[in-house]
Amino acid sequence: MGKRKKRLNKIILYIVIAAVGVVMVYPVIWMFLAAFKTNSEIFGSLKLLPGSWSPDAFIKGWQGTGKYTFGKYFINTFLIVVPTTLFTVGSCALVAYGFARFKFPGKKFLFAVLIATLMLPNTVIIIPRYTLFNKFGWLNTYLPFYVPALLACFPFFIYMLLQFMRGIPRELDESAYIDGCGTFRTFRSILFPLLKPAMFSAGLFQFLWTYNDFFNSLIYINSVDKYPLSLALRTAIDSDANVQWGQIMAMAFVSVLPLIILFFVAQKYFVEGIATSGLKG
């Protein structure tokens, strides 16, 4: 009796899981299939599958209008995202090292400040930052992305790496320190290899967030030849002309494809990253 009920429970469980799963992926699948559809198929047609499987929308969408192809926007996106990610991870790891292993006057206070900035909402600093970058002549360059990354303005990642470092026994690096290594060499040769998984997680998240970021690109980047994907897509739907939704969906799909691939390849790190950073909070 109990066994049968258990089985029934299990079946219901699987049905619920599958049903929610369909809801979760349906929009993404729809986006992919819409790339093959005409406008009239997208609106007012019930069929999920397109009438024909011509890749025209991908080709035409990729070419964009005239001078710049989506390839250009991809390069721009990576020009923003890759350095930003590397800078963030590097600088945050060093700062975390400073907090985790050294005692210096004012440390408690500074750490409290760091934690406080975790809660600092972005909206409140956007406007002065914008005017500041304007004074520096950094508008329409990628410096507004690079410099905050170099200066470790992401307390979340510092905190995440710090927590991880606290889990590494002090003896390990202290024994290196005894051999007369400088602190930086100690960090490089002992801590850095151990920190790699955590840095990788932090890097993945920074990659993801910068890749998806719209607001900063919107206010800092003006000229089309510097547009990242987000702005290019936004421009495509604002076009004066008759919007070919198939092409836009094709490019939207292509633009999220790197994320999907990245996620499938590095799934473990994503999950670990979220789980650990969240738990320690």
Partner: protein, 441 residues
Amino acid sequence: MKKKSVMAASLAVMLAGSVFMGGAGSVAKAADSAEDKEPVTLRFSWWGGDERNEATLQVIDNFEKEYPWITIEPEFGGDQGYLEKLSTSLAGGQAADIIQNGPGWMPSFMSKGDFFIDFNEYKDNIDLSGFSEEYLENTCTYNDKLVGLPSGIGTTALLVNKTLADEIGLDFSGDVTWEGLTEMGKKVQEYNSDMYLLNIDTSFLVTNVFRPYIMQITGTPFVNDETKSLSCSEEELTQVLSYIRSLYDDRVVQPAGETASFEGAPQTNPKWINGECVAVMTNASQINNLTSANEDAEYMVVSMPEMQDKEAQKNEGYYANPPQLMCVNKSSEHIEEAVMFLDYFFNNEEAAAILKDLRSVPPTESARQICEEKGLISSLVTTAVNLGLEKNGINEMGLTTDSEVEAVIKTMIESVSFGESTPEEACESGIDMLENILSEK
């Protein structure tokens, strides 16, 4: 460990892939310039649809062939968000050298700073004789400075899907009046309750119904730029809003809830594409976009609506205005070259034939002739412009077209069109907001 290297490899492939694919565009640029000239690079920003973009790029290509030491980097996109980009880049000193500008935005730019050159100072580099002096004076001159050149002659007109109008039995042969629109709208609804007379959303109601209507009953633009106050009374404002409300109540226009998702782009309205809307009020420069959205139908252009009671009407409410202005950035390092490009853009025969009517009917005599000879301008656009040129409305570019004022007008229209407030309520809170805004100008 293994996973990580796979990860790294896939990242590398992605990067390489995008570099490879994107590289194609920039390789072609062989920047060998003429012997004795320093190479010059200019940036040109504009908004437009595909056709306009392609034609403009073609003109740029031709220009570069003729002036090989000048390279022009195009920057183009949609019209929405263009103003924000332009303002931020002007403020930050990052704006393009050659700028397509909205005539309605000019007054506000002019009050904020000195951003654009006076073309009168560069007459050696550009031939302005093709433009009508009066038109330049009326539409592009501020404080005696010619800060822009009109991209074309633009007017608003009513574009009618003739096929559908005939099917329903609507008669557009006489003068169209506001009251007549309501009657026609009811007829359309009787014919098929899924169809509407007008393809219009709340932001086009501002420019194509609200402002002309106000001008017709008051004879002046909505805001008086001198006194920085509203030029109409509360009753007059309520009257317009009531009329707009009645358009929704009588289902003359498609419900605001349906048009919200393609606001600002009537050519993407499925009802228009499927031939379920009879007419659209549009600027002449947009006619080609609208007709190509549904090529199965036959179209005609008629005059915009006016008051039935001609006695009550102070003026006709419509006027010719450039759809865009072409400006040159004052802080550009190569002003002369930028002006030279505009000279080519406006006066070169080949350029005229390429640009056709994509920014409405060309502004210069010579370009108009070329286009007419070659039959490059659609008769719809010509009719629209000719009808519009006869109207005696007053140019209202100024505080009336200020983006904050426009936003309040839109708020009033939305609150009546969604039925959330009565015209009286909307009028009252709108006046409050407008007085606040105007007091700070």
